[in-house]
Each structure stands twice: as structure tokens, then as C-alpha cells.
């Protein structure tokens, strides 16, 4: 059943529904495994996503396979939608490129105690208030102005510190991955420039594909899980997609540079400089993991502060509050224990554009979600749909699933083919209010630039990586 992918030289073999194998060859240490339907396989001419899956398979210490999720697309170094685990005790590496520049970029979902029909008369007013209250676009600007001492506490304490300072409630933390703070942060490994970039951006969306959306629950697929998570049909929700801003990007930049120079000392050669890596247990590896955790905490505090801005806007225009459903990252490396060939092994699991999806009963889940599994938030394309999923027993790729729709067209070609004003008019005609930072920014994020989110989620579920809980549709978009 082998088939050569159009426009690429990588052979993929269909192993079953929603699962393809890239046979091990050359310097690959493990095979590649792509979870996708045939239609979702990357095939655009010049798209190097599958070659990047092959490149990741050469990393020292990688175990089992170089995995790709159904939304995989061409990144730099790692593919976006890639998962790779290395055996820490066996010289397994950590690679900042396997986390991405936007460390702990992620999604949070909040639910309002009202239904869409009740909100619609005030939607325009709500969007105008969000437009004013949510900082976005290039450069400085955040809702929380802080100094260096406070920033250091954010880097160590994440969303916990933000809540301690009054920017949220204790219940929020129970609904954050890791309780809102990733342990092991080492602000001493965060460079001067990263700190300078981070100071002015706490509580800001940034630009690119980041957004804050007012959504409504369109379909509930799993009533019991939705109920446990606090979600029901027609309910109004807010989804926030953003990350660690300039601070995270600078940390990745700085540590890639360090590893690019250090790799030769460890006898490591990589096929792409952006894959620069060192053993996870080395000095450089531990330094990166400490800085990465600090950036992850910054990202979690950032989403906590944006939640507060959204809550204030809702309170002002509707009189309603917002309860946190969940907050989860899709760009991170974590030291996790998994069973490999029958024995428990400490792995450094890289998820770049992939989301952890813990099964029911996992000890890291909060008590009220232990019976259903970890909520997984999938931001869709502007104007289409987003999903609430849940982890399942036996989920593959170290309990990972997709993270979004996945780009098929470059920003460059999307901006050339789509007029931002026409796109906004089209969305408004369909009842989606749009508040964008720029016309071209809107055009770059046009739905046609992405894979079909419904198809990506069906493939993820079909591959046994997760289960659908609810589908959400946008009512209003604040675009970064």
C-alpha cells in the first residue's frame, strides 16, 4: 500500500485508517508515524513537513517514532504538529526547535452563564469593549504593567502568581494544566533581552494566528464530559489563543544559538540548524529546560491576564462572569514517565503544535475531571469552528493530539489571494463580528489558508488520539 507523496520525496505507507508509516532509512533512528487521512497528508509542492518528520527521527535518544498529528505542516526544524520523545537516561536530547519559538503557546476556554440568543443584542457592544481592552499587534503593550521584580515572580509562579495578585480566582488554577505553574523555572537562565521584551507585554495577544473569540457551543458530542467540564449547548464561551510573546521567542533564539555552538562537543550533527539540540541532562539542556519553564509560566500568566480583561468586558456589557473551562499548551517539552518495551522510562516529550491529552484516571487531572480525562482545546480557523476534545485510554504519541487546523497556504499567498476588507464583510454577513489589527493580518488568517478543522478533528478521533466533546462556532473575533 506504499505511496509516494506528491511534491515530496518521502515515501509513506498506509498502515490503517488514519495512520501512515515513514519507513526507517538512512540516519533515521526510528520510523515516522503520521496520523492523518489521505486527504490531510501534506502534499503541496515544496511543503517539507514529511521531510521534517524524517529529520526529527534522526535525533539522538529518540524512542518509538517521530510522530506527526493530522494538522502537521511545514515548520522550521521540527514540523508544526510534531511529537518526539527522547530517553533522558540514554543521552536523549532536548531541542528548543521541538518546542517552538512561542513557548507554551496555548488555548484557554471560558464559559459564560448565558446562551447565544441572549447575548446577540449586545454582541456589538461587547466586541467594541473587547476591542479597546485587549492589547494586540506588534511591539509593547499589555494589560499588566510590571517591573523586573514582579516579572521574576511571574516567571516562577505563572498563573498562580497572577491569581495571588488578584487577577483571577483560585478555581481558575484547578482548571489549568499543571495547576497554572510549570515547576522547575529558572529565571537565571532567562537572558537580558528576553526580560526586556517580556516587561511590556504581560496581558497581550500579539499578532499572527493569535485571537480572542466570543463563541457559542454549536454541538455537544459527549454530554457527560461536557457537563463535567461546565459546557452545554448554545452556551456562550470565550476562547483565547496566545503564548509567551517576545520573551518566549527570545529564550528560544538564545538557547538555539547556544546549542548550535555546543552540539559538536556532544558529537551531535543535525540535518537542519534549527534542530540544534544537546542531551537533556547536560548543563545546556538543563539551562534551556529552566528557561523554557519560565517562559511557560509567562504564557500562563499572560492568558490569565487576558481572561481578566475578557471578564471585565463581559461584566461591563452583560453583567455576567466567566468560568474557566480549561487552559492547555501546545508548544512545550515535558519530562514524563511512560512505558517503553514494558519498562517505565523518563522521556523528554516535545510537542510542537501538538497537545497533551491525558486519559481518564490520570493522576495529573483535577478531581472533578478525573473520570472524563483531560480537556483539549483546538482553536479553529477564523470564521469556522473550534473544538473541545478529551484524552482517551490508549491514546498514541505519548498521549498527544492535534492543536489546530494546520496551514496549507503561506501567509504570503493568502494575503495575495484574499482581500481583508472583503473577508471581514463576508464574516459579518454570516453573523461573525470582527475586530482586527490590520486588513492584511485578517487576510493572512483567511479560512482557506488552513486545513478543514472538522476533517482534522475527525482524523484525530479516528486515529484514537482523542474524543470529541463539543464543537464551538465564532460569534465575534478579536484578531491579533
Amino acid at each position: 500500500m506504499g505511496a509516494t507523496v506528491t511534491g515530496a520525496t518521502v515515501e509513506v505507507v498506509e498502515e490503517g485508517p488514519f495512520r501512515f508509516r515513514i519507513p526507517r532509512r538512512g540516519s533515521m533512528r526510528v520510523p515516522g508515524v503520521v496520523f492523518a487521512s489521505r486527504a490531510l497528508l501534506p502534499e503541496a509542492a515544496g511543503d517539507q513537513a514529511l521531510q521534517q518528520v524524517v529529520n526529527v527521527a534522526t535525533l539522538p535518544g529518540i524512542v518509538e517514532a517521530s510522530y506527526a498529528m493530522p494538522d502537521v505542516h511545514w515548520g522550521y526544524g521540527f514540523p508544526i504538529g510534531g511529537v518526539a520523545a527522547t530517553d533522558v537516561a540514554d543521552g536523549g536530547v532536548v531541542s528548543p526547535g521541538g518546542v517552538g519559538f512561542d513557548i507554551s503557546c496555548g488555548v484557554r476556554l471560558l464559559a459564560a452563564p448565558c446562551e447565544r440568543d441572549a447575548l446577540l443584542p449586545r454582541l456589538g457592544q461587547l466586541m467594541d469593549v473587547l476591542d479597546r481592552r485587549v492589547p494586540r499587534g506588534p511591539g509593547r503593550g499589555g494589560v499588566w504593567q510590571i517591573g523586573r521584580t514582579e516579572l521574576e515572580k511571574v516567571l516562577v509562579g505563572g498563573a498562580c502568581h497572577a491569581v495571588e495578585r488578584g487577577h483571577g480566582v483560585a478555581r481558575d488554577l484547578a482548571r489549568c494544566e499543571d495547576g497554572g505553574v510549570l515547576p522547575g523555572a529558572d529565571p537565571g537562565q532567562v537572558g537580558v533581552r528576553a526580560v526586556e521584551r517580556g516587561l511590556g507585554q504581560v496581558g497581550s495577544l500579539g499578532s499572527g494566528n493569535h485571537f480572542l473569540e466570543v463563541q457559542a457551543v454549536d454541538t455537544v458530542h459527549d454530554r457527560a464530559a461536557a457537563s463535567a467540564m461546565g459546557v452545554r449547548e448554545r452556551q456562550v464561551c470565550v476562547m483565547i489563543h496566545c503564548g509567551s510573546r517576545g520573551l518566549g521567542h527570545q529564550i528560544c533564539t538564545d538557547h538555539v544559538r547556544t546549542m548550535d555552538r555546543a552540539a559538536a562537543r556532544y558529537g551531535i550533527e543535525v540535518p537542519d540548524r534549527q534542530l540544534a539540540c544537546v542531551p537533556a541532562g547536560s548543563g545546556e539542556g538543563r539551562a534551556y529546560l529552566g528557561a523554557m519553564a519560565a517562559a511557560a509560566n509567562y504564557a500562563r500568566a499572560n492568558r490569565q491576564l487576558l481572561s481578566e480583561a475578557a471578564r471585565d468586558a463581559f461584566e461591563e456589557t452583560t453583567g455576567h462572569g466567566l468560568d474557566l473551562v480549561y487552559d492547555i499548551s501546545h508548544n512545550l517539552a515535558k519530562i514524563e514517565t511512560h512505558h517503553v518495551a514494558g519498562r517505565a522510562v523518563r522521556l523528554c516529550v516535545h510537542r510542537k503544535g501538538a497537545t497533551r491529552a491525558l486519559p481518564p484516571g490520570h493522576p495529573d487531572l483535577p478531581d472533578d475531571l478525573a473520570a472524563v480525562g483531560q480537556p483539549v482545546l483546538i482553536p479553529g480557523t477564523m470564521g469556522t469552528a473550534s473544538y473541545l476534545l478529551v484524552g482517551v485510554e490508549g491514546g498514541g504519541a505519548w498521549h498527544s493530539t492535534c492543536h489546530g487546523a494546520g496551514r496549507v497556504r503561506s501567509r504570503h499567498s493568502a494575503a495575495r489571494e484574499v482581500d481583508g476588507r472583503a473577508l471581514r464583510a463576508e464574516l459579518e454577513a454570516r453573523g461573525v463580528a470582527v475586530r482586527g489589527a490590520s486588513w492584511r493580518g485578517l487576510a493572512e488568517e483567511a479560512p482557506r489558508a488552513y486545513k478543514d478543522i472538522d476533517a482534522v478533528v475527525r482524523a484525530s478521533e479516528g486515529a484514537g488520539l482523542c474524543r470529541r466533546v463539543a464543537r464551538l462556532v465564532p460569534l465575534g473575533v478579536v484578531k491579533g
Binding site: 503541496a44 515544496g46 511543503d47 513537513a49 505542516h73 511545514w74 515548520g75 522550521y76 526544524g77 508544526i80 519559538f101 512561542d102 499587534g137 506588534p138 511591539g139 509593547r140 533581552r193 526586556e196 521584551r197 511590556g200 507585554q201 500579539g206 499578532s207 499572527g208 510573546r245 517576545g246 521567542h249 527570545q250 528560544c252 533564539t253 538555539v256 548550535d260 537542519d272 540548524r273 534549527q274 540544534a276 496551514r407 496549507v408 497556504r409 503561506s410 501567509r411 504570503h412 499567498s413 494575503a415 489589527a437 490590520s438 486588513w439 492584511r440 493580518g441 493572512e444 491579533g480
Partner: protein, 144 residues
Amino acid sequence: MGAGGTALRGGHCGVPHTADLTVRAWAPTREECMAHAVRGVAEAFVDLTGARGVRSRVVELRADRDEDLLVDLLEEVVYRLDTEDEVPVDVVLTEVRGALRAELLMADAGTLTVIGAAPKAVTLHGLSLSGGPEGWTCSVTLDV
């Protein structure tokens, strides 16, 4: 946008990449080629028509490889944008004492129209900067 005080020759363009922004540039000299890359990056997210430089930033770049000099130069642009809200409208590059001196003439970002996603990091993926008898070319991909 000048290089070494001369009128800038050559050109630049954006190239499709699903991840983010790839800029290619070409020019008779290394310095002009790098200056075109800076312009290509700035034009990708702000409209430079009528942009006015209000202050200059000088930085000395040192690297073993030419392509790493290009990364350092563009990282300076990203850093100044995030910390000072500045965008380069001109750059003069001069070789001095084994280093490359870059004088960036900056405009305030707030005075320019934003037309696209801002660059946040410079990648090493597919990075190149090389010269030959036909002149210099470079390719660089940025995270936006």
C-alpha cells in the same frame, strides 16, 4: 535604504512558506543584500510609504559566518520593535575592524500603518547568505 553610504542596488521579495515569513534578497554586495533583507522584513508588516526615521541605532555585529551576521542584524530589528516600538526605514552597513557596523535609522512604529503580522524571531531553517561573481543572495525565514 542604503548600504555603506551608496544608493541601494538589488532587490528583495517574500517567498511562500506555510510556517511564516521567508524573505529573499539579492544585490551586488553583501551589505546591500543584507540591507534589502531588512527592508523586506519591515515591508512585510508595516507600510513604509512616507515613513520618516527619527533616531538611529548603531550596533556592531560579529560572527564566524556571513549568514549569522544576517541573523544578528534581523534579530536587532525584532528586539527594537518589541522593546522600543521602532521600525527601520534605512540601514547603513560598514565593515570595521573585523566586525560589521550597522546604523539603523528608525521610525516610530506607532506612526506607521500595520499591514501584517510582526516578526518575532529569526530562524536558522534554510538560512543562506552567499556571494559570487554574479553578486550576493540571501534567504531567511522569520517566525511571525
